[in-house]
């Protein structure tokens, strides 16, 4: 098959995407596919029309690639693509929308409030901070509603730290989420075609917790796969699969959770999980006996199968 690997783009996660894309290209070439690498820029549609690929492998992370934008363009061009569809991408990308859908589906997620920038600048949302504090407590996690890789995510240990954390988060998006901090084990569940792969536990070595730098540098975080969860494993897998269904995912996705005292709570969903050599999805697939080439092949099959199913 002729496969267009979409990578790069303008998002803040460009570098990671280039690394994911390069690895996917190698795997697909080894599988005997004709691979066309496309760095997503303003000639993307023109090049897709010129190349006429049989299928597109989306290895874009962050804005445009993971939020439904590129998926929508591929729908218009009638090019099947890997990963979730437009609306699942849109929901997964906006953490406040995703959490709302999870709450409606009765999947546990830490309590939160979400504000736009105008809520603070025009409507005096700051005057609600007393109520927010009473409801969510400290420490608070402050994050941009959209955006991945922990960019702009801050812990506010007390009131004094909230304004700075909010200003930082608004650097990345015009909507922020203030979320109750749940103490617990950090878990990540990779889901392939609706099935949960072995759970990965993330143990940061850094006192900065889960920083953007640490996330992509070997040796700064320990990953344990499969995680030793004993009795709670089923609950973790179940919450992850129900999350997948609630958002209407397809192909693959990664669900990040925290395992606190009251069981697993879902933090966010990655519609296009990283596929670099230090990424969690390939690690989980490996633990399930699915090598990287096989994984890429499965994702292509799922993409073309979806088209046939329509």
């Amino acid at each position: 098959m002729k496969v267009a690997v979409l990578k790069g783009g303008r998002s803040l996660e460009r570098q990671v995407s280039l690394r994911s894309g390069a690895r996917v290209e190698d795997a697909l070439s080894s599988l005997g596919h004709e691979v066309v690498a496309l760095d997503a820029g303003n000639d993307l549609v023109r090049r897709l029309k010129a190349e006429r690929p049989d299928v597109a492998f989306i290895a874009l992370h962050g804005a445009d690639g993971e939020d439904g934008t590129v998926q929508e363009l591929l729908e218009i061009l009638a090019v099947p693509y890997t990963g979730p569809g437009v609306s699942a991408c849109r929901s997964a990308t906006d953490k406040s929308a995703a959490k709302q859908e999870l709450r409606e589906a009765e999947v546990a997620t830490p309590d939160w409030v979400s504000f736009s920038q105008t809520a603070f600048s025009e409507l005096g949302a700051a005057d609600a901070l007393d109520e927010i504090e009473a409801r969510l407590g400290y420490p608070l996690v402050v994050k941009p509603a959209r955006g991945g890789s922990a960019l702009g995510v801050r812990f506010a240990a007390n009131r004094a730290a909230v304004p700075q954390a909010v200003v930082s988060a608004f650097s990345y998006d015009d909507r922020v989420v203030l979320e109750r901090h749940v103490e617990g084990r950090e878990l990540s569940v990779s889901i392939l075609d609706g099935e949960a792969l072995p759970v990965v536990e993330i143990r940061p070595r850094d006192e900065d917790r889960y920083s953007y730098e640490a996330r992509y540098e070997i040796g700064r975080t320990d990953f344990i796969c499969p995680a030793d969860l004993s009795a709670t494993e089923e609950a973790v897998r179940d919450a992850s699969v129900r999350t997948w269904r609630a958002l209407g995912c397809h192909g693959f996705a990664r669900v990040d959770l925290i395992l606190g005292r009251s069981g697993p709570e879902v933090l966010e969903v990655n519609a296009v999980p990283g596929l670099t050599d230090t990424s969690l999805f390939p690690m989980a697939a490996e633990a399930a006996g699915i090598g990287f080439e096989e994984l890429c092949g499965r994702l292509l099959d799922l993409a073309t199968g979806r088209l046939r199913a329509r």
């Binding site: 803040l12 007393d130 009131r159 700075q164 650097s171 990345y172 070595r205 730098e213």
Partner: protein
Amino acid sequence: MRDLMEITARPEVISLAGGLPDTSTFPPQSFARQMTKIAQESAAEALQYGPTEGFASTKECIRQVMAAEGMDPDPEDIVVTTGGQQAIDLITKALVDPGDVVIAEAPTYPGAVPVFCSYEAETVQVEMDSDGLRIDRLAETLDRLAADGRTPKFLYSVPSFQNPAGVTLSAERRRRLVDLARERELLVVEDNPYGLLRYEGQPLPTLYELDGGDYVVYLGTFSKILSPGLRLGWLCAPPPVLQKVVLGKQASDLCTSTLAQYFVAEFFAEGRWREYVDSLCDLYRSRRDAMLESLARHFPGEATWSEPEGGLFLWATLPDYIDTTDLLARALRDNVAFVPGAAAFADGQTGRSSMRLNFSGSNEDEIREGIRRIGAVVSEQVELYEAITREGRTLLPEQDAPHPEPEAGADVVPLRRRGEPGG
């Protein structure tokens, strides 16, 4: 942050982030003439390997550049390097073993940080003010290290128009530094890429001149006065140090580009290199002035910035609740870029509310527009912060928990070494 920096290279972005000199002013006819001459008269030699130390003809050009700042080095003490960056690398490679202490200014040249890290040095940074490195703080730091039984391998300093702070070490402090170095037997690595790019004020003696080359290793470059694309720099050091550097260079790349050295020799033979540097000074002076005017117009009252008398950069500091790494993400949405201050500190934490701004690589219109855009996003964040903390609210930081510490220990910042837990 590397990802953010990559985005700064997009064509639609006004980048005040780079350290680029403007090479568009170098006359193409002159370039063609010199290269033609090389092709016609010395093609075989120019395409051949050269001596590791560099050609005598290149060293003669270097002596002219150094003489323009009052120095008179022995050609035997000079090694020609592949840019000034290699000179930093070679001196570190020659002197530093894992765990050794290197002292640097706070903030320091961001490109030096990864060099010190890669040789597993522990970088200790010493505070500066508007007169450059604080010698009293340096002496305290040396005392503290001595009490721990540690002797720093060298002090790395950019005394003139410092990158990134834009400040210049005063004449009086230069003398004190040279005296202190002698007294404490501290080797000083003086990196002077911008010394000749002075737009106002009186030239100051270099540390190398004041010291006579006993305790000062001098690093120079053609990058900012001619072209960074040539990759031509140099290092002057006393013979025992120089020998180790030459061995290191042999291992790294055998010799500096022969072709680039031939080009510089031809360019200098025309005798107009000072004219060219003067023309750059005129150009950069206007750009600096445009940036200073724009900062005064568009940055909020709480912001401060250095007013450099030369060089390529100035250093702006915003209210301490603004994190410039995050701000860069916001600024890039408006297609403008700068270097976040944290890049200039070995711990990656200090300097988080500061930024480095370059005024040599963009024209005046771009500078004005770029500063306007940065000013707008800074103002947006100031207003947002004020909206969240405004009078009458209980959330005023003063009333509750203490204000976030303005980067504790700003004078001395120990660097975690690679491989250490948490490093």
